[in-house]
Symmetry: C2
Subunit: 461 residues, 2 copies
């Protein structure tokens, strides 16, 4: 059986072939040692304790960058640096809401990122209810104008997080739709799966020409309470006070650290998560754990000897509020060869699946990943890899990818709420993540195959 | 074998003996029908939705009384009325806290009932940490004076709620101890068992002559965060703003409804829960479910025919803030004969155990209860019954008691937090409660035995 052309090509271009690549036994040893990792916990605990919340573009995020540089230097990484960029900054203000009639009581809510403000006295209006975003879209403007639109949805937990895409549209798109119809404000049922009185914030977008209106998420118990009050059939009036502000352009930045490789021509392996967090919690699962897992794995590879490819760990800034860090990185490094990119930004629960997007010439890497990851309970998926807001602009240039998919069953219980705190991190599952990333890097960074471009459409989320 | 004197006495005093008492089959039929009860859900849903939070002595609690009278009349009870009394009223104000140094960040907290206030600008002081209440008690005043005392504890969930007694002392007694030592303020780890950023309020007491100081509970994630920050060993400064107020004497009241009995001399069976709630949640498990369960069971007995004894359902006012309703009831009704009292104030999860406190002459009632309750999965305990803040002053007069003990494993996840909302009620478990109470009332209200006094020491909690 003749060699396939792609494999033939790969064979012809191998630098230091057999000598460089780690054996499966070496990969397994590194992987299993990582199950006792303490580095990722140390980073997660330190960042969430010593910095806490770190909203993009604020002094808190700047303190986080200083902390990150010190930590990454202390871990022994090379070329530790901040790459700054400018971005528009929105900050939360006061936020209060109450049902005024027929049954007076307070409601718990959180303004959405980019929400407009009420006056300092607040606004009071009748509530008009839409069970789904489609109902709001279909409503005539006359039904909405001057009212507080209230939009619900049917999000439920999903292991792969797939419910966030469609139901998240209520938050991402709902406020602009309501604004176009003349709504005074919009309340949404939090994009979440828990029943605690902690509202889920997150960014919304008002396109050019669409006036930002006050936009907030009710906690799920409050959203259901408001639904029950509305079901009584009497007009429901709500008073709303939201005083967030756009404070103009500020500096943010990506923190970068490297494990230098032996072969500069083999391309960079880009990994990371995001350093910024929402302002309500300490960003433990979103995304202190992601920066911690990726840095801990890179540190373990570094300690095992110089890999073929440079591993670049990027702790992206300003992900939550619009992916400014990922965009800035792709722009700054567009001329550089990236072999592969992978991102950890879905909490700290176990990796249960992996997917790849590799050129045909490097298809064997996926088989070796399967061998290396299976002992951690990780199965091979059938999707095309490429998940992650921060790496999306880089992947869009045609870079190969691996997704190590975490169990997101409880992720949206805490996501973007005050409840995203250190106690939500399960240490054993965090260690399993580090083991998975260590194994993945051991396979990918040392792979003798060339990892060329993977054509792909622009990322869609 | 001769009749024992007690049984002989009982036999001589039976009015309408065999004819009046429900057969075990009749009791079982009523019990099992109650497993499909909708009345308790209707009350719980209605009270939490149409009134919401109802802090004792406020307009909210007054609206709850009006709602309660209408509901109990609509259910067909007799002698529905409010028995008012006066009480001192404390109301929550603003509450904010942040760590100022070394790691600036906000903390989530809730003032304790009867907390003193800071100035309108707040106060800033160094934190001094005590792992237990005993450590605070043992500390010299010089260590505490001018500081913010922070007291932790090791409460864990217990099915029978027994951890609330000892660990609750941190809340009940801690603030006065800190005040006596000259503390500027006190923060406690919430008396709770969850990990959500919802602080557990609850009443504290400053005895005559002890100055009320600002006193608040941190949510558990915040308490552990503060512990981690303290562990770094640097001085920790916190800024605290609490502006609650004592607003003087106001009216509260008990709402009373009756199922008249056939035999006025047989004594009243007193049951109920409390109508007031803390202000942070809608008081679903504390204690809308308790008033709902007891009223639903009484309604079911009423529908089955006139019982021997009058069943009096009391929806007590002002339980949370010092048991004013229970005290007022005992005072107003001290001259009346009570056969037995029982209270439902531990959530809405299933009854798993029952205990009794009965005179020897009525001991057979406990055996019949065992038969009636066992099919619901309820075992007979070996404790002396008498649980409940509201019935305690009545029990102290020597009244017999039954405790239907609910599963409290998750009760302190929600107790006194914003999270005490309708979604925490499991409808099937609520129905099991109604079935247990219906069976208990069927046995007790119709019992042919006399139920005389039970000597007991004054209730201790």
């Amino acid at each position: 059986m003749p060699l396939k052309p792609a494999l033939l090509l790969a064979a012809l271009t191998l630098p230091l072939p057999a000598m460089a690549q780690m054996s499966p036994a070496q990969v397994a040893k590194l992987r299993d040692a990582a199950l006792k990792d303490e580095i990722a916990w140390d980073i997660t605990e330190g960042l969430t304790t010593e910095i806490g919340p770190r909203l993009a573009g604020t002094d808190d995020e700047a303190r986080a960058r200083t902390w990150a540089v010190a930590k990454l230097k202390a871990l022994g990484f090379s070329n530790v640096r901040v790459e700054p960029y400018q971005m528009p900054v929105w900050v939360r203000g006061e936020e209060k809401a109450s049902i005024i009639a027929p049954f007076p009581q307070q409601l718990q809510l959180a303004a959405l990122g980019n929400s407009g403000a009420t006056s300092a006295e607040g606004l009071e209006a009748e509530v008009v209810y839409f069970p789904t975003l489609a109902d709001l879209e279909a409503a005539p403007a006359a039904r909405v104008a001057g009212k507080i639109a209230f939009v619900s949805h049917a999000m439920h937990a999903a292991q792969d997080g797939s419910s966030y895409g469609p139901f998240g549209q209520v938050r991402r798109a709902g406020p602009a739709i309501a604004s176009r119809k003349g709504a005074a404000a919009i309340l949404i049922r939090s994009i979440g799966t828990d029943y605690h009185r902690n509202a889920h914030t997150g960014v919304t977008t008002f396109p050019e020409g669409v006036a930002p209106i006050p936009a907030a998420a009710l906690s799920l118990p409050d959203a259901e309470q408001l639904e029950r009050v509305l079901e009584r059939g009497k007009p429901v009036r709500v008073k709303l006070l939201l005083t967030p502000r756009q404070i103009g352009t500020r500096e943010s930045g990506n923190v970068i650290a490297e494990v230098p490789g032996r072969d500069p021509k083999a391309g960079v392996v880009l990994i990371g998560g995001h350093l910024d967090s929402w302002d309500q919690g300490t960003g433990a699962i979103d995304d202190a754990s992601g920066v911690a897992i990726t840095a801990a794995a890179a540190k373990r590879i570094m300690a095992a000897g110089r890999p073929r490819r440079t591993i670049r760990v990027v702790w992206f800034g300003a992900e939550e509020v619009g992916g400014f860090g990922g965009t800035a990185y792709a722009k700054a490094h567009a001329g550089e060869r990236h072999a592969l990119a992978a991102e950890s930004d879905f909490g700290a629960d176990r990796v249960w699946k992996f997917d790849t997007a590799l050129p045909a010439s490097a298809a064997a890497i996926a088989d070796r990943l399967q061998t290396a990851l299976a002992p951690l309970g990780i199965t091979r998926g059938n999707a095309v890899a490429g998940d992650g807001t921060d790496i999306a602009p880089t992947l869009a240039l045609g870079v190969a990818a691996v997704d190590l998919t975490q169990d997101g069953t409880r992720y949206f219980d805490y996501h973007h709420t005050p409840d995203d705190t250190l106690d939500k991190i399960d240490r054993a599952q965090l260690q399993q993540n580090v083991a998975a990333w260590t194994a993945m890097l051991a396979v990918v960074a040392d792979a003798p195959e060339e990892i060329g471009a993977v054509p792909r459409p622009a990322a869609g989320h």
